[in-house]
């Protein structure tokens, strides 16, 4: 398969953890933060608007697939914090469900894209009742809309960062940092299994 895999993260921290798990990874070239053989990593910023700004004008020549990697809040206790999940069903507040046929072989979950952080347990419960998704985040909706406009395959992979009764207000606590580090390896292993020639 030709072309590079583009991994998009919201935070530099996530990109750094991925880079640390990739052999032959170097900084740049701009606009990418890191690159490794067959792969580039872009830090797009937090929230849909930052992501849109970063992605909309990005030349995607030579990119064969886009993957969003990061953390997500939980709307139920089905998956424990630290689980790494692929999210082939991205729900928007408008009621659309964006579906990816791509599979990385990871456990799957539905995710709701919202414009801002949801740190009130009651609000999370309300979102779950209303939309019925297991996870919530701020980037997946914008990411998928842009990628679909560009006609490229996509996947959203998220590490569960908290529980609905105790929403995480600090996305990079020491504990989560460790979980993210471990799950960056799991994610990259799945990516290499699916996309790299054997």
């Amino acid at each position: 398969m030709n072309g590079k895999i583009l991994i998009v993260t919201a935070h530099l921290k996530e990109a750094k953890l991925l880079a640390a798990s990739l052999s032959g990874c170097v900084s740049g070239p701009l606009p990418y933060r890191y690159s490794a053989p067959g792969m580039v990593i872009l830090v797009a910023g937090q929230g849909e608007e930052s992501l849109r700004r970063s992605l909309v004008s990005l030349p995607l020549t030579g990119i064969r697939v886009l993957l969003l990697f990061g953390t997500a809040g939980s709307l139920t206790t089905v998956y424990a914090p630290g689980m790494v999940l692929e999210c082939p069903w991205v729900h928007t507040l408008e009621g659309d469900i964006l579906v990816s046929p791509l599979s990385l072989g990871l456990p799957r979950a539905s995710i709701l894209a919202v414009p801002g952080p949801v740190i009130d347990p009651a609000e999370r419960e309300e979102l779950f009742r209303e939309h019925g998704t297991l996870l919530v985040d701020m980037e997946s909706g914008g990411f998928v809309k842009i990628v679909k406009e560009r006609g490229l395959p996509w996947a959203v992979v998220k590490v569960v960062s908290d529980t609905p009764s105790e929403p995480d207000t600090f996305p990079f606590s020491v504990e989560l940092d460790t979980l993210l580090r471990e799950n960056a390896r799991v994610f990259l292993g799945a990516v290499q299994e699916v996309f790299c020639d054997h």
Binding site: T76, V78, P107, A109, S110, F128
Partner: protein
């Protein structure tokens, strides 16, 4: 109306994939309603629940009612602990699930009047 009789376990790996592939296939056939008979399911792990929840929304989006019937106590407890009984239409009796599906109601919030 499609009734799916599932037996055994739904866990990470082949069983979960088979289960979701089947739900996807049924979804493409656009039936009037789907009932998953759970009385012979021994165990569902979080992966299986993840698939169920994902497909519940997709069926609802397509206005196809999807109901669960007669889950064993352990599974019902899992659905309750995780709050999923609030979004899943769950029935003790097949006839009630059939009645609910025949009404063409894909909204679980209307269940309180019909759940036995």
């Amino acid at each position: 109306m499609v009734v799916i009789n599932v037996m055994g376990t739904i866990t990470l790996g082949e069983s979960s994939k088979k289960f979701s592939d089947y739900l996807e296939k049924i979804l493409q056939e656009r039936p009037k309603g789907v009932i998953i008979n759970m009385d012979k399911i021994d165990y569902v792990d979080s992966t299986g629940i993840g698939e169920l929840v994902g497909y519940l929304s997709r069926y609802r989006d397509e206005k196809i009612p999807l109901a669960l019937v007669n889950p064993r106590e352990r599974i019902l407890k899992l659905l309750t602990i995780t709050g999923l009984e609030k979004v899943f239409p769950i029935f003790e009796e097949m006839k009630d699930a059939l009645k609910w599906c025949e009404r063409g109601d894909s909204n679980p919030h209307s269940l309180s009047a019909t759940r036995s």
